[in-house]
Amino acid sequence: MKGGGRRPCGSRFLFAGLGFLACMAGTPQAMAQVSAAPVVAPVPASTGSDDPTVYQPVDKDERGLWLMMDEDERKFRTDPAVIRDPALNAYVREVLCKLASPGRCAHIRIYITRTPHFNASMAPNGVMQVWSGLLLRTRNEAQLAAVLGHEYSHFENKHTLQLWREVRRKTNAASWINLIPYAGLVSLGLLTSIFDFSREQEREADEGGLTHMAAAGYDTHEAAVVWENLRAEMDATAVVRRTKSRKDRDRGLFETHPPSAERVATLTELARKTPGVPGATGADRYRAALAPMWASFVDDQLKLNDFGGSEFLLKALAGANWTPQLLYARAELYRRRAQAGDLPQARDFYTAAISGGGDLPELWRGRGLTLQKLGAAEQARADFTEYLRRAPNAPDKAMITILTGGS
C-alpha cells in the first residue's frame, strides 16, 4: 500500500479492498483520498494442493467442511472490511509463524478485518480472522501471541471438524445442516452454548496456545492478562450504561471465547507451570507495528457509543503517558458525549494535547466546537480560524467558515 501520503493519523485502509483509501485523522471530516496499487488477495492453498507438506482433508466430512470454508474465504477477496496494509499483515504473520510449525504457517491465510470488537477465529482450511478490535486491546506481542496461539491450537487439533461431528452425532440431519454456516468461520460459539464439548476444546486450545507461546519465547503470564483486561473493560462499559457486566455471560459477541474467571485462573495456573521467558512481552515491537493503525482503530472505537469501554481503553493505552494523540481521542470522546461536565473536560484535553505538541488540525476544530457550546464564542472563532489555516482543504471547510463569521 504505497503512496499513503503520511498524514498525522496514518490510517489509510478504509475501503482499501476497492483501491480506495482514506485517512481519517480521528474525525470523519478529515479525510483525504489517495491512490494505491491494489493488493492481490492470497490464494487458498487448501483443498487440492499437491504440495506434500500441506495437510489435506482425509475423509468426506473433512473435505466437505473445507470446501465450504474455501467458499466462505472467497468473500474476503473483495470484502472492503479486510485490511490489506502489507506491513500490518506481515507483522501478524510474523507473530503467528513464531508459534506455528513453519510448514503449516506458510499455508495459513490471515485476514485482518476492520471490526472494532475483540475476536479472532480460525477455520479448518487454514483461514485465520483477526479483528481490528482485538489489535486495539492486546497491549503487547505476547498477548497477541496468546490469542493467535489459541486459535492455531484449534486448527492444529481439528476442533471444528470434531465439533461438527459431535453436532451431527447429537442432532438429526435436518438440524445440523442448518448449522453448517456457523460451524467454521465465525460462529463456532453458537454451538458453545449447546455443547460442553466445545468448552473442552477451549481449554485444550488455551493449553496448546500457552505451550506454543512458551516455545516461542514469550512470557506466558500475558495470556491471562488478555482476559483480565477484557473483563475489566466489560465492567467499565456496564457501569456507564448502567447495565450488568457481560463478563460472565456465555452468549453474545464474546461467546466464542468467554472471558470467564475460571479461564483466567486456569491460564494463570498453566503459566506458573510453563512460564516461557518471563518479561519477554515484545511491547515495544508491538507498539511500533501498530502505531500507524492506532488513530483509525481508536476512531472506530469512539464511534461505538460505548463511553465507559472507550475511556477504559484510552486509559489503558496511555498508561502514564498521555500522548497528544490519545488526549485528542479522549477530548473527542467527551465532546461527542457532551453530558454535564463533559465539555470543560474536553476543552482541557484539547488544550493539553496542543500544549503537549499536538499539531493535528482537528484539535483546533474540536476545541472550537467545544468552546462554542461553552459560550466562549470569541475563543471558538480563533480556534476555527486556526483549524482552517492548518487544514485549508478540510472537508467541512464551508461549514466551519460560517462559524468563524466569514463567508
Binding site: 478504509l14 475501503f15 479492498g17 476497492l18 482514506a22 481519517m24 470523519p28 471530516q29 479525510m31 468473500k75 473483495t78 470484502d79 472492503p80 472490511a81 478485518t113 476492520r114 471490526t115 472494532p116 481490528s132 454456516p181 456457523y182 465465525v186 460462529s187 450504561r241 447495565t243 457481560r246 453474545g252 459477541l253 472506530d300 464511534k303 461505538l304 457509543n305 461527542r336 457532551a338 453530558q339 466546537l369 462554542q372 457550546k373 472537508p395 467541512d396 464551508a398 461549514m399 466551519i400 460560517i402 462559524l403
Partner: protein, 197 residues
C-alpha cells in the same frame, strides 16, 4: 451473521425497518405537496412509495424500487433523548441519543455514529460537510459512503439536516453506488430542496 446478511441486503434506513415481511406501500403521487413523517412537506416530481413500516415514531421511509435500492428517510422533530433509528439492542449496542445542546456541525457526527452502531460496521465515512438551507432554515448537508461487514457492495448517501428548537429535522437518501445512487440522488436532492418544515 443473520444480522449482517439482512443489513447488507438493504440500504441504510431500509435495513433498520422492523418486520421486513410485512411491508406495505402506498403511493405518494407526484405534482402535489406531500407530508412526510408527520412534519415535512415536500413536492416530489415523480411517484414514490411510502413504506408502512416506520424505523421510529418520527421517521418514515420512501422508496422508488424498494428500500434496498433507494431509500429516502425523513425524520421530523427528533427530540433530546431520542434515537435516529430503532434502538433494537439497547443492552449491547445502544444507539446514540439526541442531545439538546447539539449544533448543526454535530448532525453529521450523530448520523455517522448512529449508522455505525445500527449497521454494525466501521466502514462508514462522511465527506463534503457544507451549509445549506432546508425549508428556509440554516442546515447542514453532507455525503457519506458505507459498506456492511461481509458485503462488498458500497452504498452512497446524501443528507440534509437542521435543528429547530433543539429538535432534529433530517432528510437522508441512500442507494448502492452502482447505478442507483447516480440515477436517483438528483431526485432526492430536488425533494430536499422543496422541503417545508
Amino acid at each position: 451473521m443473520n444480522r449482517f446478511t439482512l443489513a447488507s441486503a438493504l440500504a441504510l434506513a431500509g435495513s433498520l425497518l422492523s418486520a421486513p415481511a410485512e411491508a406495505k406501500y402506498t403511493v405518494v403521487t407526484h405534482g402535489g405537496p406531500a407530508l412526510a413523517a408527520g412534519g415535512i412537506t415536500v413536492n416530489p416530481a415523480e411517484d414514490w412509495n411510502r413504506d408502512s413500516r416506520k424505523p421510529i415514531k418520527k421517521g418514515e421511509v420512501w422508496t422508488l424500487d424498494g428500500p434496498s435500492l433507494n431509500a429516502l428517510y425523513f425524520v421530523s422533530g427528533l427530540a433530546a433523548g431520542e434515537t435516529l433509528y430503532r434502538d433494537a439492542d439497547k443492552k449491547n449496542r445502544p444507539l446514540p441519543k439526541m442531545n439538546g445542546s447539539m449544533l448543526l456541525t454535530d448532525i453529521p457526527e450523530f448520523f455517522e455514529s448512529s449508522a455505525r452502531v445500527a449497521l454494525n460496521t466501521s466502514l462508514f465515512e462522511v465527506s463534503n460537510v457544507a451549509p445549506v438551507k432546508l425549508g428556509g432554515h440554516d442546515a447542514v448537508r453532507f455525503s457519506y459512503r458505507y459498506a456492511v461487514q461481509g458485503s462488498s457492495l458500497i452504498r452512497n448517501g446524501v443528507a440534509q439536516g437542521t435543528l429547530i428548537k433543539g429538535q432534529l429535522y433530517l432528510i437522508d437518501f441512500a442507494a448502492p453506488s452502482l447505478f442507483y445512487y447516480e440515477r436517483d440522488a438528483p431526485k432526492a436532492e430536488a425533494i430536499m430542496a422543496s422541503a417545508r418544515l
